[in-house]
């Protein structure tokens, strides 16, 4: 089947197999390997991307369901070769260790800041409750999001 959608602000049209997930589309067809595959059943959040302004697990969306959608991945949030403030603050706050959860974590935080530029700590915790981190713990990650909210 053929789908057309917007990927990181670019119009895309591509022929796909109906049995692939959005995650496979991003990683295998577009080489956007920033989006990670963790649990594959919607529990770890490593594959989180933005679909029509909302955070979703790309392992739980079929590519064929993305017709006309606007998708943003971790690769789409930097501007003119400069990291997004969330990415900067994750680095500065020590919120990245092995880095596997970071793209998903950052996309969940990005979706939160889209609709709520001044989140409370509870709101940040709620927004990243579907993202598992097994290295740094969550304190540094929450700090990084709080810091970003103050800056932008």
């Amino acid at each position: 089947m053929k789908i057309s959608f917007v990927l990181n602000s670019q119009n895309m049209s591509i022929e796909i197999e109906p049995n692939i997930r959005l995650l496979d589309l991003l990683r295998d067809k577009f080489n956007l390997t920033g989006t990670k595959e963790g649990c594959s059943i919607g529990e770890c959040g490593a594959c989180t991307v933005i679909m029509n302004g909302k955070a979703v697990n790309s392992c739980l969306v079929l590519a064929g369901q993305c017709y006309g959608a606007e998708i943003i991945t971790i690769e789409g949030i930097e501007k003119d070769g400069k990291l997004h403030p969330l990415q900067e603050n994750f680095l500065k706050s020590g919120a990245v260790q092995c880095g596997f959860c970071s793209p998903g974590m950052i996309m969940s935080a990005y979706a939160l800041l889209l609709k709520n530029p001044n989140p409370t700590e509870e709101e940040i915790k709620d927004a990243i409750a579907g993202n598992l981190c097994r290295c740094t713990g969550y304190k540094q990650i929450i700090d990084a999001v709080e810091k970003t909210a103050k800056e932008i």
């Binding site: 679909m51 697990n57 392992c59 369901q65």
Partner: protein, 290 residues
């Protein structure tokens, strides 16, 4: 391995009904996909033979919420995030909103739908107990007919409903709850987020001058499917709501749940906990009724 060979994107309910008509049970409706897609991944026998998916996310009618004097009608493909942010549902069906907040994670709530929750009919479906105490009915359509059924009657056993292969659930219809009914919902899982319910209870209560005028109780997860306890409700109707009575209600509910679910390895833990949850919920409602 995902067995799907075709994904269809109809724009009207009639089109869905037509698509459901001309197949041999190899088609399935998909909305949020948060049960179906992991089901493919773990090669669940429930999903191995699906060749055609009919995606209903582009049908506005299935996402809309409308209110009349008598009832609230909610499109079956509304997501839990949309439920949480909908002012009408917040005002009229607060227990449904509270349960919706406990489901999965933000990512899951952005996709998972109200209809999908009870059509999949997992024992742990968190929105079912609230819908049952609100006496929810559902509208089902096929090419041939349109019918309305009580949600309680629609649910047969875990992962089984009365939905036929040529039918779609289009609406959840909830009679406007009387303002005097106030209630609460509690979910117990093993952690705070992305958690499978072990026990959930929804209770609505109308206390008039200290007497129970009306009580509605439904369980989730701790019974094989979401279950209303009409006999317990009836038994305590008209009684004076005091601490002793609340204990009696909790004890009776625990006994009935044990009868429905049978003795399991976890009963020794679950029954006292469900009784405590029941007691605390009614205590909280009693305080708010004063």
């Amino acid at each position: 391995m995902i067995p799907v060979k075709e994904i269809l994107l109809p724009e009207t309910v009639d089109e869905v009904c037509r698509l459901l008509q001309d197949t041999n049970g190899l088609s399935k409706i998909i909305a949020g996909g948060t049960d179906i897609i992991p089901g493919f991944h773990i090669e669940s026998p429930r999903f191995v033979n699906i060749e055609r998916l009919i995606d209903i996310n582009n049908i506005d009618e299935l996402k809309s919420v409308s209110v009349t004097e008598d009832y609230i009608s909610i499109g079956s493909a509304i997501s839990f995030s949309e439920i949480i942010s909908n002012p009408v549902i917040n005002e009229k069906l607060p227990l449904l909103v509270k349960a919706s907040r406990t489901i999965g994670s933000t990512q899951i709530r952005n996709r998972a739908t109200l209809g999908g929750n009870f059509i999949n009919n997992a024992p742990c479906a968190d929105s079912v107990a609230p819908l049952l105490v609100y006496d929810a009915e559902i509208k089902i359509k096929s090419i041939a007919a349109e019918k309305i059924m009580k949600l309680q009657d629609f649910l047969v056993k875990p992962y089984r409903t009365r939905l036929m292969s040529d039918e779609i659930v289009t609406q959840i219809i909830v009679p406007n709850p009387p303002a005097k009914l106030i209630g609460d919902f509690y979910k117990l899982g093993r952690r705070r987020a992305v958690s499978i319910s072990r026990i959930s209870l929804a209770i609505l209560l109308d206390v008039n001058n200290g007497f129970i005028n009306e009580m509605r109780i439904a369980s989730g997860a701790v019974t094989p499917i979401g279950t209303r306890f009409y006999d317990v409700e009836e038994f305590f109707k008209g009684r004076i709501l005091d601490d002793e009575l609340i204990k009696d209600i909790a004890i009776k509910l625990g006994e009935r749940i044990m009868e429905v679910s049978g003795v399991r390895w976890s009963s020794e833990y679950k029954i006292p906990v469900v009784q405590q949850v029941c007691y605390q919920l009614i205590k909280g409602i009693e305080r708010r009724s004063l």
